[in-house]
Symmetry: C2
Subunit: 150 residues, 2 copies
DNA sequence: CTGGTCGCAACCATATGTGTTACGACAGGC
DNA sequence: GCCTGTCGTAACACATATGGTTGCGACCAG
């Protein structure tokens, strides 16, 4: 499984924006977020673009532009983020269709698909249980020693 | 997420071997299995090699060689197969460590790791609930119209 | 008009998954 | 002892995904 870090980075970005706004700022720039994530601003803009299409954030252009939350952190779950940034399924079936003349080749795909559907449903329920506010609180609960935001 | 088909193919191979043995045969060759899966025998040998290292199958070499189950299909769960063929985690953290001077960058990794650990545990429980015998029975329950095994 | 930021395309490097060929290792049958 | 069929494994090719980077036009407050 070539696990990617999209869900992690998206949660990081949303958490960062949420905390930044809580501190009284209007919008956060992709460069600020990229600095915290330690990556390129374009990577952040790409991810936030997905989140914007999912209605989780809004972007403002022009001078003083940047990103802001479209909803309260409390109303966003990791499932919302997951659906916004991870289109594909968790497990894939065969890439070439198996031998339909064979009993196993014939019946294995529906059988596995049913199992995978159930697992994805469980995963979604699990992701839906965690809000971004939970994540922020967990982040702030880290044993910090007077660290600054930037 | 670049989902792969390893779990699917491994379950297919084990199911095939199980049914083949139930029909009275001693061992199954990677070429027979590959024919049902519709792929190259080397792909099957690679996967079965992982399963052998996990103690799920045994291989015999020389003339009349092939693969056989090391345990009853009933005693194998999809979790056993998953652990044998999928080493990595489901979700990745940042590839570059985030800014440790930032509160979010500092606390986000432990927070997300805790969440991911919980999710993987749920996934494992779900996979452990399905035995390969369940899969075979599900496969055989497909609306077949007098199909032959080979 | 200017400056700062987003939006997006294009490209590159790397990693991974899968298929394929090749060939040595092995063991049973002759 | 040799033949034959199969495994074991390395090596390579190819496609795709991911993440990083550069470049540049679009946009808008001042």
């Amino acid at each position: 499984m070539s696990a990617n870090s999209r869900l992690t980075i998206a949660a990081h970005a949303l958490t960062w924006i949420g905390l930044y706004q809580r501190q009284g700022h209007e919008v956060a720039t992709s460069e600020q977020i990229a600095s915290s994530v330690n990556t390129n601003p374009v990577v952040i803009r790409r991810l936030l673009g997905d989140l914007r299409r999912a209605g989780l954030v809004e972007s403002r252009r022009g001078v003083g532009a940047g990103w802001s939350l479209a909803r309260d952190l409390e109303s966003m779950t990791l499932l919302d983020v997951y659906e916004a940034v991870e289109p594909g399924p968790l497990f894939a079936l065969h890439r070439a269709t198996p031998d339909q003349e064979c009993v196993v080749g014939y019946g294995i795909q529906p059988a596995m698909q049913r199992i995978y559907d159930g697992i994805e449903e469980t995963l979604r329920r699990e992701l839906a249980r965690v809000t971004l506010k939970d994540v922020l609180q967990d982040v702030l609960a880290a044993p910090r020693q007077e660290l600054l935001t930037q």
